[in-house]
Symmetry: C2
Subunit: 530 residues, 2 copies
C-alpha cells in the first residue's frame, strides 16, 4: 500500500495567504493565569479568519509566540478594528511595547493535547506525556477549560503512583532548582487544612540555631486564612530576591521567605488557579505539588506533617497511611529523605487564626510567655526534634530534648530576631499586637465540654472577617477541645477592620458557630503517631 502523495495547484486568485497583522494593545484586565486576547467583532481579520468566541489564537511577534483564548469585543474603546488586545499577563509574556505589530492565526492545539485526551479517556501516561503537559501548562498554552480537564482527569485514583512520580519529575524540571552546595538541607511541610498551624515559624529558628541548613520557602494562603508567608510578613519582609535569600541562608542557616520569587515548580501555581475554586486536592496532585516544590528548593531531608481529624483534610488512619506510602514512594525515587509524621488535626492549633493573631502566638512561644499556646509549642518541638535527628551527630530520640533546650534557653528567639532583621523588620509590637478594631464575640449557650471545633468553619469565618488580606483580621479562640464552659462563656472573638467584612463573618457565624458543646466522652479520639 503506497501512502498518498498530493500536489496542490491553486486555480483561483489571491493565493498569497499573508498572515494577518494587527497592532498590539495592552488591555488592563487581570484574567489571572489565563491568556485572553480581545478582538473587535468588525475587525477584518476576525471576520475573515472564521474565529469563534473562546477559540484559541496564536499571537506572534519578534520570534515570540503565545496562545490565548479569544474574547470578541463590540466596544472600540477597549480594542478597535486593526488592534489585538491582550490581558495583562499575556501582554507581558510577549515582552514588546504597546502598538507593536503582531500576527494572529488560529492556534494549532497545544502539543500535549493528545496526551490530555488519552488521560481523559482513562489511559495511563508516560514520563514524556507528563513533560509535554507540564511544559504546556507552564507556558500558558492551556485554556482554563483544558487546565480544569487535566486536574479533574488526574483527580482521585486516576493517577497511579508511577504517574505521580512522572508528574512530580516533570514539575521539578519545568522551573528553577536551587542548589545549596551542602549535603544536608532540611525542611518541613504540612499538607494543610488546620488553622493556626504556624509551626514553621518555630521550627526554622530552632533547627537553624542548632546549625542545620533550613532555607524555608513558604506559600501564601490559598484557601486558608493565613499561610506561613502571610504570617511571617507581619514581622518581616518575605518577598526577597533569590540572591538576597541565598545570602541570608548562608549567613543565618535559615530563612522564612515566600517561595514565589524563586520560580520553583511554576506549573504548580497555574494548576492551583483551577484547583482552588474547585476545592480539589487529590492525593496524586498533593504529592506532586508538595514534593516538586521541596525538591526544586534543594531540600535533602523533609519532615512531612499529616494531621488527622473529623474536619481535617485526612479523616482516618487508613487514609493517612495510604497518603504516607504515596509520599514515600515518590520521595524515594526522587532521592529525597522523607520522614512522615501523623499529627492531631481535630481542631485549630494555638489560639489565633489570621496573620497578626498567629504571629502573636508564635512570638509568645519563642518568648516563653505564660500566655503561649501549649499545643503549638509541643507540636513545634516534636517536629523540630525529628528534623534535628537528621543530623548524624544527634542520637535517635534525643531531638525533642535538644529542641526544647534551644527554645527554653532563648536561642530560638535570638535566631528568629536575626532572621527578622536580615529579611527586613516590619516593627511588629509583640506586647500589643494591633487587632482589627471591629469585633464581636461568640458565646456558649448551655454548659458542658467543648466536644467539637470545625476547622473548615473557623477558617471560613476568619476569611470572611478579612484574613489573610487584612492582616489584623481573624478569630481568637478562648476555648479548646475538652475545655469545660458555662452558659454565656466566650468561645471566641472575631476581629475585622471593615464593617462589610464584620457583617459577612457574623452571617457565617449565624449559619454555624463551628463549636459543639457536649459531654467529655463526645470529644473525638486522637490518632497520633508521634
Amino acid at each position: 500500500m503506497n501512502e498518498v502523495e498530493t500536489t496542490t495547484s491553486a486555480i483561483g486568485p489571491g493565493t498569497g495567504g499573508e498572515p494577518s497583522r494587527l497592532a498590539l494593545r495592552r488591555v488592563l484586565i487581570d484574567t489571572y493565569h489565563e491568556n485572553v486576547a480581545y478582538m473587535h467583532r468588525d475587525c477584518e481579520v476576525y471576520r475573515a479568519e472564521g474565529f469563534k468566541a473562546l477559540s484559541k489564537v496564536e499571537v506572534r511577534t519578534n520570534g515570540h509566540s503565545i496562545l490565548a483564548t479569544l474574547n470578541v469585543v463590540d466596544d472600540a474603546s477597549i480594542v478597535a478594528c486593526g488592534e489585538l488586545g491582550l490581558s495583562k499577563a499575556a501582554f507581558e509574556q510577549l515582552a514588546v511595547l504597546n502598538g507593536h505589530t503582531v500576527t494572529v492565526a488560529q492556534a494549532e492545539p497545544p502539543e500535549s493535547i493528545g496526551a490530555l485526551h488519552r488521560k481523559l479517556a482513562g489511559e495511563r501516561l508516560g514520563l514524556d506525556d507528563f513533560r509535554a503537559i507540564v511544559r504546556d501548562i507552564t507556558e500558558h498554552h492551556y485554556s482554563k477549560i483544558e487546565l480544569t480537564a487535566f486536574v479533574v482527569a488526574a483527580n482521585r485514583d486516576e493517577l497511579d503512583r508511577e504517574e505521580v512520580l512522572f508528574l512530580t519529575e516533570a514539575m521539578v524540571e519545568a522551573g528553577h532548582r536551587l542548589d545549596w552546595q551542602e549535603p544536608l538541607v532540611v525542611d518541613k511541610h504540612c499538607i494543610g487544612g488546620i488553622p493556626g498551624n504556624r509551626t514553621s515559624m518555630l521550627v526554622v529558628p530552632i533547627v537553624a540555631a542548632h546549625g542545620m541548613l533550613c532555607p524555608k520557602t513558604s506559600s501564601r494562603a490559598i484557601t486558608s486564612p493565613a499561610g506561613t508567608a502571610d504570617t511571617m510578613e507581619v514581622l518581616a519582609e518575605v518577598e526577597l530576591p533569590v540572591e538576597q535569600l541565598q545570602q541570608i541562608v548562608h549567613q543565618h542557616r535559615g530563612c522564612l521567605a515566600w517561595g514565589g520569587t524563586a520560580n520553583l515548580s511554576p506549573a504548580d501555581d497555574v494548576l492551583i488557579s483551577v484547583e482552588r475554586p474547585l476545592a480539589l486536592d487529590s492525593p496524586g496532585q498533593m504529592v506532586a505539588s508538595i514534593l516538586s516544590k521541596k525538591i526544586a528548593a534543594g531540600s535533602s531531608h523533609l519532615v512531612l506533617d499529616i494531621p488527622i481529624g473529623p474536619t481535617a483534610k485526612v479523616r482516618s488512619m487508613p487514609e493517612a497511611q495510604r497518603l504516607r506510602r504515596l509520599f514515600e514512594y515518590v520521595a524515594r525515587r526522587m532521592k529525597l529523605s522523607l520522614d512522615v509524621v501523623i499529627t492531631d488535626g481535630r481542631q485549630p492549633i494555638g489560639f489565633g487564626i489570621g496573620p497578626v493573631l498567629e504571629a502573636r502566638d508564635v512570638m509568645r512561644v519563642l518568648q516563653n510567655d505564660p500566655r503561649a499556646p501549649m499545643d503549638l509549642r509541643q507540636k513545634a518541638l516534636r517536629l523540630a526534634g525529628r528534623m534535628l535527628e537528621a543530623d548524624p551527630d544527634v542520637r535517635g530520640g534525643d531531638g525533642f530534648a535538644i529542641a526544647r533546650d534551644i527554645l527554653d534557653s532563648g536561642r530560638a528567639l535570638k535566631k528568629m530576631n536575626d532572621l527578622i532583621e536580615a529579611q527586613g523588620s516590619r516593627h511588629f509590637d509583640h506586647g500589643h499586637p494591633q487587632l482589627g478594631r471591629l469585633s464581636f464575640e461568640i458565646r456558649a449557650h448551655g454548659t458542658g465540654v467543648v466536644s467539637g471545633i470545625d476547622n473548615l468553619q473557623l477558617a471560613r469565618i476568619a476569611r470572611f472577617a478579612g484574613a489573610p488580606k487584612v492582616k489584623e483580621a481573624g478569630v481568637d479562640l478562648c476555648a479548646k477541645l475538652g475545655d469545660e464552659v458555662q452558659d454565656g462563656d466566650v468561645l471566641y472573638r472575631v476581629h475585622a477592620s471593615y464593617p462589610a467584612d464584620l457583617e459577612f463573618a457574623r452571617q457565617a457565624c449565624a449559619r454555624s458557630s463551628g463549636y459543639r458543646i457536649g459531654r467529655a466522652e463526645d470529644v473525638p479520639h486522637v490518632f497520633v503517631e508521634f
Copy 2:
C-alpha cells in the same frame, strides 16, 4: 449531647453591614456562556470585600440576582471605581439599564456545588442532584471551571445508565417542552461525525409528504463544517419564532428549522460550550444531550443513526451496540419509541462538504438529477422507510418502497419547495450554486484504489476553508472509497472566499490530504445493520 447555641454581641463601631452599591456598566465583551464581572482594582468595594481575581460575586438589583466570575481591571475607561462592569450576556440577564445601581457581595457557592463535589469524588448521584446541577448550569451559576469539572467528572463510564436517565430528565425539565397534540410525532437524528450527511433534508419532505408529523429542529455546526440548520439556511430562513414554526408544522406536517429559538434543553447549549473545545463526547452526555432535545421537542418516535467507521465517532460494532443499549434504556424510561440504525460511517456521505455544496447535493437528489450522490439518496430512503413504518398503516418492510415512490414521483421535491416557501425562501440557484471563488485541487500521486478517506481531516479542511460561517466554502469530493484513480486525477477541490482561509486549508492539506490510495482489498469492511 446538646448542639451549641450562640449569641453574637457586637462590641465595636460600624456594625451596619450595608451591602456595597455600584453603578452597573455594560462591558461589550463576549465571554460566551460565562458571566464575567469587571471591577476596578482601586474600587473601595473591591478592596474592602477581599475579593480575589476569579472569585465568584453575586450581583443583585430589582429582585434579580446573577453570579459572575470577577476579573480585576486597572483601566478606568473599561470600568471606573464605583462601577461594576458586566459582560454582554450577563448584563442582559439582569434586564436593567446602564447606570442602574446594583449591590455586589461574595457569592455563596452554587446550590449544587455539594453534588458536584460528590461526583468529583466518584459518587453516584440521584435525580435531585442532577436537577440541582442542571438548574445551576441553566441559570449560569457555574463558572467555566465548574462546568468543565462536571463534564469531565461525568465523562466515560462515570455515569451509570440510571444517572444518564436522571441527567436526561433534568435537562428536559430545565427548558420548554413542545406539545403537538398528536399521538405520532416522528423525528430522526444522527450522532454526528460524518461530513456531508444531510439526510434530514430529504427524510423530512418524504415523511411529511406521506402525511406524518415531522417537526424537525436542528442544530448548527458545533465542530463540523455544517449542521442541518446551516445547510438549510442556504435555501430558506431557519431562525423562526416558535409560533411561526408551529403554524408551518400544522399546515405542512413538517419543518426544517434551527432549534435554538425554542429554548429546548437549554443546559445542553451551555455544556457544549466546554465540550466543544475539549472534543469530549462521552456516551452518557451524548445520550442525555440528544434525547433531552428530542423529548423537549415533543417527539414520540425517533430513528437514531449511529455510523461506524475507522474515523467515525463509533469505531467498532461492540461499541455501537453498547451505545445503542444506553440510548434504548433511557428512551424507554422516558416513553420515547426509539429505532436505532447502525450505518456505514467509513467516509463522508455525498460529494459536498460545507453548506452550499451540501444544499446542492440535497436538491439534486430531490430533483432526481443524474449527478445526485447515490449514497446520500440510498441512506435517506432507508431512514425515511424506517420512520414511515412507525405509521400503523404501513407494513413492516414496506417503508423503503413507499419512500422511494414519494421521492421518484417528485412529491418530496414539492414538499421541500413548500417548506422553503413557508419558512421564507432565500432564492438559491440550484442550477448554478455559487461556490467560493478561490479554490485549489488535491490530486493523486500514483495509481490505485481509494482505500481510506479520513472524516476528521476532511471536516477540518472544510472548516479551515471557512465552512460553515462562509456558506460557499468547503470541499467537493471527486473520488469515493473503492474508486480507481490514476496518477494526477483530482481527488477533491477546496473552495474558499478569503485568501487567509484558502491558505489555512492549503496548510491543512499539506499536513495530510485525508486520502489513502491502496489496493481494493485495503478498503475497510463495512458494518451495517440495515
